[in-house]
């Protein structure tokens, strides 16, 4: 039932047209009244003063606060996207393994990280290493800890000083986003591979390919086309979730626009919120547009018969695409 809007009611005749016109008028009046009440309240609280709005017209505000914040948001989003995709592919394929000792632990990891809130994961990365690292430094794992921080985690800005590991907010946000979105993407990968018709893998086995070849040469290339819209929708979710960095004072876009600007320009919280929201919406809607476009393209494509898994597009398909939207 794809054209529900035209099937649920008739093409309006004279009476229906009058009724629709009346309803339109009533609804418009109600909206106008709500809007007027809001405007009245705003002006009552002096929210239309010029000094509250003009900061967003100044180049210095953009140059020193908003643009660096936006850069930090995009930086965290890009790093986390890359890592989450890696995590998702590894664990998604591990869940499809033939060996139970690979399948079961991978499933447990994915379910765990999907089941607990992202904010708790970010807190975990931000607070825990700091507290437990002195004890580890004393124990037999001290050298291991020092080496792993020096040669690996330092690329995310993690530092070790006299046995105490400090995790910067950036690394904590990236950790949380990677683990959470990675496990969601693992499910997307699994569902994508499982959605390929069985005949494909049977044919591949019958020409003598092994499991590795079947997966790499036949199933994954088709699954990637199927998964693309769902992956892009998940990137929108990830980008929105970077805003959680606000809570642990990571200097991302929300922190810069919603905390720093009001702090410096006479507490213009509402105005800052509106400007920040508009920019987030613009970025996310263009990403969603990409998802819709990808979905339409793969639907038109003759190379693959596989159906896409839905996206943030206009008419979501029941199932995977819609269900993963979070924060």
């Amino acid at each position: 039932m794809s054209k529900e809007a035209t099937v649920l009611f008739d093409i309006p005749g004279p009476r229906a047209r009058t009724r629709n016109a009346v309803l339109t008028a009533v609804v418009s009046i109600v909206f106008a009244a709500v809007l007027a009440a809001l405007v009245w309240r705003l002006s009552d609280k002096g929210q239309f003063e010029e000094k509250l709005w003009t900061p967003f017209l100044k180049w210095t505000v953009w140059r020193h606060l908003l643009l660096p914040g936006l850069m930090n948001t995009l930086k965290a989003a890009v790093v986390a996207t890359v890592l989450a995709l890696l995590f998702g592919i590894v664990f998604g394929l591990a869940r499809l393994s033939d060996h139970w000792w690979v399948r079961v632990p991978a499933g447990a990891v994915v379910e765990f990280f999907r089941g607990i809130p992202l904010l708790i994961l970010i807190f975990l990365a931000f607070f825990v290493p700091n507290k437990i690292s002195p004890a580890i430094a004393e124990s037999q794992f001290g050298t291991l800890q020092r080496f792993s921080v020096d040669y690996f985690f330092s690329i995310f800005g993690v530092e070790i000083n006299a046995g105490t590991v400090t995790v910067p907010a950036f690394a904590a946000v990236v950790f949380g986003l990677t683990m959470y979105n990675g496990s969601v993407l693992a499910e997307v990968v699994r569902a994508g591979v499982l959605s390929i018709p069985k005949g494909q893998s049977e044919a591949a086995y019958s020409i003598g390919l092994r499991k590795n070849g079947v997966m790499r040469l036949v199933l994954l290339p088709q699954a990637i086309t199927v998964m693309m819209p769902a992956i892009v929708s998940q990137i929108v979710v990830l980008l929105k979730d970077t805003a959680l960095g606000f809570i642990i004072a990571y200097g991302e876009f929300l922190q810069a626009g919603f905390k720093q600007v009001p702090a410096n320009y006479s507490n213009n919280v509402l105005q800052a919120g509106i400007v920040v929201a508009v920019i987030y919406i613009a970025i996310n809607m263009s990403l969603s547009r990409v998802a819709t476009w990808l979905e339409g393209r793969s639907r038109r494509s003759r190379k693959t018969e596989a159906k896409t898994m839905g996206s943030g597009g206009p008419a979501p398909v029941a199932g995977v695409g819609v269900t993963q939207q979070t924060v």
């Binding site: 089941g115 708790i120 509402l270 929201a277 919406i281 969603s288 979501p316 269900t323």
Partner: protein
């Protein structure tokens, strides 16, 4: 490091945090279901203004970070515009958290419900019209009941996401479990035992989310429309 006594010393606080989370999640579940149903009906209605409102609302709210939505409620509407629910600040922050979370989740419920409406066969709507039901009647008696039965499982996922999203209310001054966790860690007396604390909080969330998922899965199977 795995000494659980600091965890149990703060057990009361953690339980109170989970109770606050539960109260928030339960109220937001009911309210977001109502908001989502109305939005979905708007989006398929014959009145163009309502359709435009539904589409605009969903696009705006779905693309705004929840942190910003909740902060705008607590800092913007509550503190600056002084739209308060009660003199008691914790009550008023609770209701703003409920409203913000429901307004946000409602958009996702709406999209899920719309995908459910898409699963109802064309003939059902045509039959409803042919026996002379009006738009509201056919939506209420024919389309929505079938759509709801089709979306139980995805709706469960939306609610699970919402339960996890309650932690974001920590940013909006509502003392749920994430904020409690942070307060406990910041205590000077709380030297070690962060690992048991995080294990406890994680298990608490798994207790909330996993059975919800199984329940909705079971319900979806039971209520499935045979076609």
């Amino acid at each position: 490091m795995f000494d659980f006594s600091p965890f149990f010393d703060n057990f009361d606080e953690i339980l109170q945090g989970f109770w606050a989370t539960l109260r928030l999640a339960a109220a937001a579940a009911v309210l977001s279901l109502i908001i989502g149903t109305f939005l979905a009906s708007f989006r398929v209605s014959p009145v163009p203004v309502l359709r435009a409102f539904g589409t605009g609302y969903v696009n705006v709210v779905r693309n705004t970070p929840l942190t910003l939505v909740l902060l705008m409620c607590s800092l913007g509407l509550n503190d600056i515009l002084a739209l308060k629910f009660s003199e008691n600040s914790s009550t008023t922050y609770y209701w703003w958290a409920v409203l913000g979370l429901s307004a946000y989740t409602g958009a996702f419920v709406c999209e899920t419900l719309r995908s459910g409406i898409n699963t109802v066969p064309l003939g059902q709507a045509e039959a409803a019209r042919s026996i002379g039901l009006t738009f509201t009647q056919s939506l209420r008696m024919i389309i929505l009941p079938q759509a709801f039965r089709a979306i139980i499982a995805p709706l469960g996922s939306v609610f699970i996401a919402m339960i996890k999203n309650t932690t974001v209310a920590a940013a909006a001054s509502y003392a749920e479990v994430a904020l409690v966790t942070k307060t406990i860690i910041d205590k000077p007396t709380f030297a070690n035992g962060v690992i048991p604390l995080f294990l406890g909080v994680s298990v608490g969330f798994l207790i909330l989310t996993l059975p919800t998922g199984y329940f909705f899965g079971w319900l979806a199977k039971r209520m499935a429309v045979a076609r």
